[in-house]
């Protein structure tokens, strides 16, 4: 029997497929509207501010701060169950986007702090990599 796997995004989902394709090269991307400069995240085909649909893809530095987090101590998911306790967090990237991820490579996830600096730590899979984060 194979070990339980991390749930992975669907690479065929039309709004997010380019984002996930870029992760294969360890690029953490976000969009910005050419007309009004609004940063858009999660990825979409339209600007959520103006009526424009001309969006430029940028690559983020992969650095950011923890906006908030929780230490998961109980999970019934076959992949995550043996990982408890682990930290999930909303992370504010320096370029603006707020994304949900797991904070890895911390001995005591309860010792993390809101406002703490983190950087991306890629976990490679066959078709993509997932952007996990670790303290800077």
């Amino acid at each position: 029997m194979t070990d339980p796997q991390r749930p992975l995004p669907k690479t065929h989902e039309l709004d997010t497929k380019a984002f996930w394709a870029a992760t294969k090269n360890e690029e953490l991307t976000y969009q910005q509207c050419d007309d009004c400069d609004t940063v858009i995240f999660y990825p979409r085909r339209h600007c959520t501010n103006c009526l424009g649909n001309s969006l430029t893809v940028h690559t983020a530095s992969g650095r950011g701060t923890i906006y908030t987090y929780s230490v998961v101590r109980q999970s019934y998911h076959p992949f995550f169950r043996p990982r408890v306790p682990y930290a999930v967090a909303w992370i504010d990237l320096d370029e603006g986007p707020r994304l949900l991820s797991e904070i890895v490579d911390v001995e005591d996830p309860g010792s993390l702090e809101i406002g703490q600096r983190v950087k991306v730590s890629w976990e490679a899979h066959d078709e993509l990599a997932v952007p996990l984060f670790t303290p800077e």
């Binding site: 992975l8 669907k10 989902e13 979409r44 019934y76 998911h77 990982r83 994304l99 991820s101």
Partner: protein, 397 residues
């Protein structure tokens, strides 16, 4: 309260008693039994119903299939599904349809066998959906409890809110549950350990599920269901019970945004609309039926509804203020025992309308003497990522 619209009223209610049907009943059967009982409570019949509301939880095309199942041919069909807040939106839409003269008797039903199905609502991993938002989140290992816990953590960080303050919500709710025989039976059937009133210490010393939320700050996972009948004034006059008027409604969504404030919920948008329509203020309310998936859900919504300012909720709830027997201190919270200690089959918004109606009829197990005004505030989806709010202000006859 001049100018208050009294164009639609709750005239029939029923809360399905069992929280554990042991797999012997389907959600549809629970809906039908609850609907019949609520219609009987109103003194109405199946054939009186001309507007049907369903959260679509029974599968595709539920507006069609539930009409056939009930044997109804409604003129208004609404399958709005916004999770646990669906029923507050249904009540709002029923009021609009009735006020517009498009319907006279609206039926809302809910049925769920979440407990029998052993659904891991709270701590199961999230599936990898194909909605783009889900497709960005599913890898991270966030449980539903952790989603709400992240709101609590940020609330503590920004405002100094403590676990002891959050525990006040669990303690008041359990006190009310112990006075409600159906809630006590629910806790027995779901094999709660040590079924009794709780203290702040009990809550903060219970097992941590996702920091900073403890076990006793999380709702139960039960079976259950219920029904609500809403009618036009000319129908309500002849019903068996005093009408409970729907005075004002508001609805809103909230989701993660760049630079967004996770400690403020969609209630901050929906509640002012409802209060303005009702022509009342938060300070006038006797009853606060607030969706209590978790302690933090309530704390956030109490602030956003306007009982106190943002960030002051922790201090505001302290000292047992939310109990039913402290009417001079503001509204009583979740007097049926709430989702924390009475009934949470997944989408408990309908029970907020039901218990608010009991209070305004004078029929609650934890009755607030002379209760005249209530809010039923539903929160559906996930507080810490994307959710929907439905605020309904109710008034006694």
């Amino acid at each position: 309260m001049a100018g208050q619209s009294r164009d639609a009223a709750i005239v029939g209610i029923h809360e399905f008693a069992s929280r554990d049907v042991e797999g012997a009943l389907s959600p549809l059967q629970i809906k039908a039994e609850s609907a019949a009982a609520a219609l009987a409570d109103a003194g109405l019949r199946w054939g009186d119903v001309d507007a049907l509301y369903d959260a679509g939880d029974g599968g595709g095309m539920s507006g069609l299939t539930i009409s056939e199942y009930f044997g109804l041919k409604p003129n208004i069909i609404d399958t709005t599904n916004v999770g646990g807040s669906s029923y507050e939106l249904h009540a709002a839409h029923a009021k609009q349809a009735i006020a517009a003269g498009k319907a006279r008797v609206a039926l809302l039903t809910y049925g769920s066998t979440a407990h029998s199905n052993a659904r891991a609502i709270g701590v199961g991993g999230r599936g990898g959906g194909v909605h783009p938002a889900d497709n960005m989140d599913s890898f991270a290992g966030m449980t539903l409890v952790a989603n709400y816990a992240m709101v609590a953590h940020r609330h503590m960080h920004e405002y100094g809110t403590t676990s002891e303050q959050l525990a006040e919500i669990s303690v008041a709710t359990r006190l009310h549950a112990m006075r409600n025989p159906e809630a006590v039976k629910a806790m027995e059937d779901l094999e709660f350990l040590d079924i009794r009133e709780t203290t702040i210490d009990d809550v903060v010393n219970s097992r941590m599920i996702a920091d900073p939320l403890h076990l006793l700050e999380c709702c139960m996972i039960s079976d259950g269901g219920g029904a609500v009948v809403i009618a036009a004034p000319e129908v309500a006059r002849d019903c068996r019970n005093k009408p409970v008027w729907i005075l004002g409604c508001g609805e809103a969504t909230k989701y993660s945004e760049i630079g967004g404030d996770i400690t403020t919920s969609a209630a901050a948008q929906s509640a002012p609309v409802a209060f303005a329509e009702a022509g009342v203020t938060p300070a006038e309310l006797d009853i606060a039926m607030i969706y209590d998936s978790f302690s933090i859900t309530v704390l956030t919504i109490l602030e956003d509804v306007g009982f106190c300012s943002k960030g002051e909720g922790g201090a505001w709830v302290a000292g047992g203020r939310l109990r039913f027997d402290r009417p001079d201190d503001g509204p009583a919270l979740n007097t049926d025992g709430g989702g924390l200690s009475s009934n949470h089959p997944g989408m408990r918004g309908i029970f907020l309308l039901i218990e608010a109606t009991r209070q305004l009829r004078g029929e609650s197990c934890s009755q607030v003497a002379g209760a005249k005004l209530a809010i039923a505030h539903g929160n559906g989806g996930m507080l810490g990522s994307r959710h929907c709010a439905g605020s309904v202000i109710l008034g006694g006859d």
